[in-house]
Subunit: 417 residues, 2 copies
């Protein structure tokens, strides 16, 4: 059942009839990113607490009636979503926060949250009769698209900037994508992909163009709400690059609010790296978004010109949330903290949200009696070179107990009686 009502342009606020072939606002063109609006009144009669209680599909497709795709081919997809939400007691104590949860998106098929959006793109491409999909990406959007395209028998054409980490590049190639490794930054890769998509007529998965992708990403918020029994934490923190993920998180909570299933949308904490923080800069200076340098190890959020500023800014503003920036050192430290206290290994952009929460607690943006959910967006195995910066390589030891004893006794380990 589809509850789609219409498109609304996030720039000019005009509404248009929904048409799956239209991507951006006919008036504002490319900058006019569209939002899909639903008929919540009708939806409410169908999607209520019982709807969730009786769902037996433990994947993102349990929300099929809130996602603008036809209910076809879903059983052939790889398993995406219904990722674990962990209460992290050890970390909670360390951070001195009332309640802390981590949503681990690293266990998705291509190891990041982006699988949720790419799955929708691939289904939409099939629905619209395409045999090829394309996007530009710093890594995760691309690998997730290549992953699901390969599974569903589509070709994928991917544009990556030069700084994409080796783990992510290999992943693309293993999935059989046609990769264009662009001698430039994200902006160059994005522009070239746009031109090529126009010229060759591939399905466009660029999240800041295609309005369906946010609707895939929002399922992470729907899951968090359901996993917390619709009693949400005061804050939800997520790292921000293009702005599409935080827009998706907002949209998921917005849906639930409109359905009367939650009373309040959590405050959203948008986290960026100080090496690339256009949203934070604009927020602190009260100015419009300006292009900035892309200078951080957190490649997934290293976006100098965010392509989805309106939705992202609204998400934080409407929830009375906040923006915060953290250094690459804080990101690496958080990688180690999360791994060693909870057994969760996140990539730099994934653990940036944890670093942001630490900083926000320090700055009293998040108060001691508040509760927090962190969305850990991607698996640390995707970026071994940066993980290596977070740890100290062990020295080689001779295979002799005597040598070992010396090391252990310096560390204060006691021998068995």
């Amino acid at each position: 059942m589809s509850f789609i009502k219409q498109y609304r342009c996030t720039l000019c606020d005009q509404t248009f009839a929904y048409n799956k072939h239209i991507m951006t606002c006919p008036s504002c063109c490319e900058k006019g990113i569209l939002d899909i609006e639903y008929d919540y009144e009708s939806m409410r009669k169908f999607v209520d607490l019982n709807y969730f209680k009786n769902q037996k599909d433990f994947s993102m497709w349990r929300y099929i009636h809130l996602i603008p795709v036809e209910n076809k081919h879903i059983d052939q997809m790889l398993h995406i979503g219904w990722t674990p939400l962990y209460r992290v007691n050890a970390l909670e104590k360390q951070l001195k926060v009332k309640q802390l949860y981590i949503k681990d998106e690293g266990v998705n098929p291509s190891a990041s949250l982006k699988d949720r959006a790419s799955a929708v793109a691939v289904l939409k491409a099939i629905e619209c009769g395409y045999d090829s999909v394309s996007c530009s990406s710093t890594g995760n959007a691309a690998s997730s698209l290549a992953c699901h395209a390969s599974r569903m028998g589509l070709k994928s054409f991917i544009f990556v900037p030069k700084r994409a980490p080796v783990g992510k590049l290999n992943q693309l190639l293993i999935y059989g994508a046609k990769v264009f490794y662009v001698d430039g930054d994200y902006k160059d890769a994005f522009n070239l992909s746009k031109d090529a998509i126009d010229a060759y007529g591939w399905y466009n998965r660029n999240a800041a163009i295609n309005p369906h992708l946010v609707e895939g990403k929002k399922t992470v918020a729907l899951e968090i709400a359901e996993q917390l029994n619709f009693s949400l934490t005061n804050w939800v923190a997520v790292s921000v690059g293009d702005g599409c993920t935080i827009a998706g998180v907002y949209k998921g909570f917005y849906d639930l609010f409109q359905l009367g299933l939650i009373k309040k949308i959590p405050k959203l904490l948008g986290v960026q790296s100080t090496g690339c923080s256009p949203f934070v800069d604009a927020y602190l200076n009260g100015e419009p978004i300006k292009e900035v340098e892309e200078n951080t190890i957190a490649d997934s959020i290293s976006v100098g010109i965010p392509r989805n500023p309106v939705k992202a800014i609204n998400a934080v503003k409407k929830t009375l949330g906040a923006w915060i920036a953290v250094t690459d050192e804080q990101i690496l430290e958080s990688m180690k903290i999360l791994g060693s206290s909870e057994g969760i290994f996140g990539e730099p952009a994934g653990v940036a949200a944890l670093a942001g929460v630490k900083e926000a607690i320090k700055n009293k943006i998040i108060k001691e009696n508040e509760t927090v959910t962190i969305i850990m967006t991607g698996n640390g195995l995707k970026d071994p070179l940066n993980a290596q910066k977070a740890v100290k390589a062990p020295a080689l030891v001779k295979p002799r107990l005597e040598d070992l004893k010396q090391i252990l006794e310096i560390k204060g380990e006691k021998r068995h009686a």
Copy 2:
């Protein structure tokens, strides 16, 4: 409820009362690996089709009554198991086999099947009052142990051989393990860990010593059976190093057979690399296992002296299965085939089973009208350097459409009208 009956030594066949503190046979010592036997008659009254049908726990702990751990602390563990089993139609056609399934173990918390065993080890260590756990490992056993130890607040001491891939080493360090990077091969690391465990009194997670670990690994077979509605494929293929995983797979099916839930145990195909194939050599030559060189890219199955030969050999023999070896080239080719046709990225040891199935089909060991399940044991992101060998790195392209057109038109891509 515990249905444990007794221990039986796999070497001398003597039985002993179960005692969680005893690891190996009191008569045969270290080589006398123990098997945990259950009271299937009592178990049958409790664990039937309805038991499975009514289970609401979608993790390995849905089988808690078949696992020798107390039902404590389980809700604090990371989410392990109930991994997807995919029908892989595209691959099925390529391989010309009647039905083909892949069990994707790469989406476990530390990204391999070993999480199932390490979880049992960590719970058992807590049960027995230990605060530290230890093992030697070529990688996955170690990272999974470090992962779950960290989550559950235990210290971990890990012995890895020099050739452990960088991705796996980083993972250990991120999880906060104390890593001993042994200047030698797996055998050296194993022996040093044994001495240190004796000297320092840590809990021993070495799979070839600790009889509980196979009981964790067996849950992969229980899941496959349940996901196939207890109608199993003719074959189940898995890569083999130490021999513990294939022993676990056998044990899972054996449990179900004893419970009357399956009529026949599938034939097991044990797959090794030609660079390190002690089981295959012994099988082909009809001789006992001999020590061999460790010379393969598939580090997880690069074990020159298998520590669990008896259980592994029995698993193949009793199911009328087979042993097969594949080259590293075939392994790399399978990595690409699985990724590009199904969107699943496996590590070398993970995709070795697929290479083995291809080879077994070629050699008419697996017939055209037979059905097959492949256990894909670990995520490809764990080993980026070998993944790189499987693919061709893309050349840098200038960010200009004109340059792109040349490349695409050589490849035969047509431009939009």
